[in-house]
């Protein structure tokens, strides 16, 4: 069964450092997403990406966040200057249309 692959599974970074989280969506999917889940809290939407541009973003997705599809297979989330409160599980997801989202296993980001 097709999978969404996320790397690394765990990332530890110093506060103020830049991090890039990597995702390989399912190959024939057209919509790509990032969500995050702070420990013990709800899964929250960050951003959606379609046709090489951001289609929606939440209030969380401020100027320190950016997304990129650098080639035909990868989808990345960059956090420019990490803060302690950015510590969370970050999930990438993809879908053919608005239904049938498939999530990756996540990257646990720990900011120290």
């Amino acid at each position: 069964e097709p999978e969404v692959t996320q790397t690394p599974s765990h990332q530890v970074t110093q506060m103020g450092q830049e991090v890039i989280l990597h995702c390989v969506p399912i190959s024939n999917h057209l919509y790509f997403y990032w969500y995050r889940q702070i420990l013990g809290q709800k899964v929250e939407f960050l951003v959606s990406f379609y046709n090489n541009e951001i289609s929606e973003k939440s209030e969380i997705f401020d100027d320190q966040f950016s997304v990129e599809r650098p080639d035909g297979s990868n989808f990345t989330l960059k956090i420019r200057s990490t803060k302690l409160e950015d510590s969370a599980m970050y999930f990438c997801a993809s879908s053919e249309q608005f239904y049938g989202y498939t999530f990756g296993s996540g990257t646990r980001l720990t900011v120290v």
Binding site: V4, Q6, Y31, Y33, Y35, Q41, K42, V43, E44, F45, S48, Y50, S55, E56, S58, M89, F91, A93, F98, Y99, G100, Y101, T102, F103, G104, S105, G106, R108
Partner: protein, 109 residues
């Protein structure tokens, strides 16, 4: 603003003891309601999508139903391997999922 509330927050069942999880929602223009299963340290795993009131979907011991205000996930004769957090989420006119807080299900043998 879309709102999704799940209850109970946690549920302990004995193996074989059937029960239901609730998801209440407020959304303008529901395009779909989703149920996911999430195991600790993992991403949400898709279970069902429901599109309109009255719709029902089944998979093994799970059955999801939808009304205009809420959805239920019925678990029939659960097994320990059904232990997980069950997440409900809605999609409105946009393309983003709004999640509830989840129900943590523990099934004891």
């Amino acid at each position: 603003e879309d709102q999704v509330t799940q209850s109970p927050e946690a549920l302990r069942l004995q193996e074989g003891e059937s029960s239901s999880l609730n998801c209440s929602y407020t959304v303008s223009g529901l395009r779909g309601l989703f149920w996911y299963r999430q195991d600790p340290g993992k991403g949400p795993e898709f279970l069902f999508t429901l599109y309109s009131a009255g719709e029902e979907k089944e998979k093994e011991r799970l059955k999801a139903t939808l009304t205009k205000k809420e959805s239920f996930l019925h678990i029939t004769a659960p097994k320990p391997e059904d232990s997980a957090t069950y997440l409900c989420a809605v999609v409105d006119a946009g393309n983003m999922l709004t999640f509830g807080g989840g129900t943590r299900l523990m099934v004891k043998p």
